[in-house]
């Protein structure tokens, strides 16, 4: 009997507790022109940890909103928070904050404060989903915040033509943030599209970064990250990645980074990394490699670039295998004798060898470095003789009787046919 009583008391207590918990969980604060709360700031201030703030459609001219407790901020029917060029809009100083479906706009260039639309300071598990950020200095700025998710946002700055580099911020900027996920975002019109510094073990997937003044993607000291299915297009200087180990880059597209100082992908001191199945199309230099070692570069397509690969002699132990090189002005160029790098089974459209035993592998080796590309690397002004008849003649003579071009950059087994990968990106994406 006593036991039964105890049980009932226990049950009741649990029920009451459960009820209490649901109230703690569920309270929703509404923000609209006719609601109790007419400004986001008010609602955020009044909300208790775990509350949801629903912001209805309308334009809210607000800035300096600080979220210092775990909240869920949801925009309904596309509300706009207009910073009105007065300062930072949202500052998150709590764990587990979700910001979803809002539009932020108008933040002034601020050299000392680096104002952003959304800034997370030293907290983890922030979720920034499906927001639109227009005309801001920095878009999303995470500092020292781990396990954050940035998904489905659109960050659009301004037309960067003729704008000074220092007057622009980055669209998505992460600093000391580990285990982040950045996916399905679209960033344009900033200095760097996605900027990562000291960001480890993160996943960057399916983003579109274009028309940025400097780099589409820029990372430094960010080990162990995975970049897949991103598109970097028409950025001022392409993509630059530096001082990093253990990265994976797969199925990305580097396109139309065309200009005197542009690269598809610039690798500086990148080691132990893999670069698979990427497409480099119409870049001034498809891939520029400096002091990078132990890279595994496979199944990439280099199409219609100025230089497909510029391999400086400071690179060692890099392997190029099963790549397609088509329509590039120069396939590979180097500034010295980059020995120790390996080219194997690539397809080169300039290859003119034969295949007697019909095993689809050419019988004579191919040397991807042309004499003229060596000359240009050594004496840059000689680039003015591009397309001169003399240059073509020189290259052809050198092909027949190699004497100047580096012995070691050689593809012993070039492929006779263009390699077909499963290039249908959508399909492979589903299958994986």
């Amino acid at each position: 009997m006593k036991d039964q009583n105890k049980l009932i008391v226990n049950l009741l207590a649990t029920l009451v507790l459960l009820l209490w918990v649901t109230t703690a969980f569920g309270s929703t604060l509404k923000v609209c022109k006719t609601c109790t709360y007419t400004s986001v700031k008010q609602a955020v201030k009044k909300a208790r940890p775990g509350d949801t703030v629903v912001i209805n459609d309308g334009v809210y001219k607000e800035f300096g909103i600080e979220i210092n407790k775990p909240l869920v901020l949801i925009g309904q029917n596309n509300p706009v928070i207009d910073g009105n060029y007065k300062g930072q809009i949202l500052t998150v100083t709590a764990d587990n904050v979700t910001i979803q479906g809002l539009t932020f706009k108008n933040i002034e260039t601020s050299y000392t404060r680096d104002d952003a639309a959304i800034r997370v300071i030293e907290r983890s598990n922030a979720r920034i989903l499906n927001n639109t950020i227009l005309n801001t200095y920095f878009g999303i700025y995470l500092q020292n915040s781990d396990h954050c998710l940035i998904e489905g946002n659109t960050v659009i700055g301004k037309d960067v033509k003729g704008v000074n580099e220092s007057s622009l911020g980055n669209a998505i900027h992460l600093w000391y943030c580990d285990n982040s996920i950045i996916r399905n975002n679209r960033v344009e019109g900033h200095r760097d599209g996605i900027y990562l510094e000291f960001v480890k073990d993160s996943r960057i997937k399916n983003n579109l970064s274009q028309h940025n003044l400097r780099y589409g993607l820029h990372f430094m000291f960010s080990d162990g990250n995975v970049y897949t299915y991103n598109t970097f297009r028409k950025n001022g200087a392409g993509v630059a990645v530096m001082y990093t180990r253990n990265i994976r880059m797969e199925y990305n597209r580097f396109e139309d980074n065309w200009g005197a100082a542009a690269y598809g992908l610039l690798l500086k001191e990148i080691t132990n990394s893999v670069i698979y199945n990427n497409t480099f199309r119409r870049n001034t230099a498809g891939m520029y490699m400096e002091s990078s070692s132990r890279l595994d570069i496979q199944r990439n397509t280099f199409d219609r670039n100025g230089w497909a690969v510029r391999l400086l002699s400071s690179c060692t132990d890099d392997t190029f295998r099963n790549n397609n090189f088509t329509g590039n002005s120069f396939d590979v160029s180097t500034n010295g004798n980059s020995a120790l790098n390996k080219f194997e089974n690539n397809y080169w459209d300039k290859y003119s060898g034969y295949d007697l035993d019909k095993d689809k592998v050419g019988d004579v080796p191919y040397r991807p470095v042309s004499l003229y590309s060596m000359l240009v690397e050594k004496v840059p002004p000689s680039v003015m003789f591009m397309r001169s008849f003399m240059v073509d003649l020189m290259d052809n003579i050198e092909k027949v009787l190699p004497s100047f071009i580096p012995e070691d950059i050689i593809d012993e087994h070039p492929m006779m046919r263009r390699l077909d990968y499963d290039s249908d990106r959508k399909l492979t994406q589903v299958l994986r």
């Binding site: 065309w258 840059p380 003789f385 591009m386 397309r387 008849f389 003399m390 240059v391």
Partner: protein, 255 residues
């Protein structure tokens, strides 16, 4: 003078060679525009062609024409006509007919398939190069009375401008690669009309992005209207110097 030009012009046009030349250019340019995907690519391939074949054909045709019309010129000299007038009409007759063929053969397809400012520069460059190489041919022909020798000199000139000159400059650049050579290269290219023409066109194509610092320097100099004017001015000098000097030789020498 007009009468003589007209006569020379008709004489050449009636000759099947110029017709064949026109057709050859027309066929090649239409083919190249249809093969290459973009008009830019077509212009690029066409540029190589223009810079190689147009000088060769101009110089060989003009030299043989000069020697073949020697008797006609002797006949004219017997009339009360100024020698330099005879020479100039011969020159203008030949170069106008050849550049007419060029404009028909290349200018028309460019206008149809790749009408742009770059295409215009290509056609202008081709016309200038025709005039320059006809002038050089006449210079070669007035130097010597021997037809074989004259053609030899003309071919050598073509060889020099199309090939040897670039080789020499590349060698110089290579030997002095420790020095800043950007401006020197610019000066050196001005001494070869073929290079000058090539660079004028290349700088207006998007290949120019590959040209790095030197290309940027060239673009800053040649990219403006003033610079383009200067470049074509230089090409004009390239016409005037051989024409005037050969006219001088022609009017003084014993025929």
């Amino acid at each position: 003078m007009n009468k003589i030009i007209k006569y020379v012009f008709y004489d050449i046009v009636r000759n099947k060679i110029v017709l064949a030349y026109t057709l050859f250019l027309l066929l090649l340019s239409v083919g190249l525009f249809n093969l290459g995907g973009s008009p830019d690519k077509g212009i690029l391939s066409l540029l190589n062609l223009v810079l190689l074949t147009v000088p060769l054909i101009s110089i060989v045709f003009a030299t043989t024409h000069f020697y073949n019309s020697y008797e006609f010129m002797e006949l004219l000299v017997a009339q009360p006509i100024n020698r330099s007038k005879i020479f100039m009409s011969e020159y203008l007759g030949v170069s106008c007919s050849l550049s007419g063929a060029f404009i028909l053969g290349v200018g028309l397809p460019v206008m149809l398939f790749g009408a742009s400012i770059t295409g215009l520069y290509l056609v202008l460059t081709g016309v200038f190069i025709t005039f320059i190489f006809v002038a050089l041919a006449f210079l070669a022909s007035v130097i010597t009375r021997d037809k074989a020798k004259g053609i030899g000199i003309a071919l050598l000139l073509w060889f020099y401008f199309a090939l040897i000159y670039d080789g020499i400059v590349l060698f110089i650049l290579y030997s002095f690669s420790d020095y800043p050579l950007e401006h020197a290269t610019l000066a050196l290219t001005a001494f070869n009309p073929v290079d000058l023409g090539r660079i004028i066109v290349l700088l207006h194509l998007d290949v120019s992005a590959l040209m790095g610092y030197t290309g940027a320097l060239y673009k800053s100099i040649l990219g403006s209207l003033w610079g383009i004017g200067l470049a074509f001015g230089l090409l004009l000098v390239w016409i005037l110097v051989p024409v005037l000097s050969s006219r001088r030789i022609f009017s003084r020498r014993d025929l």
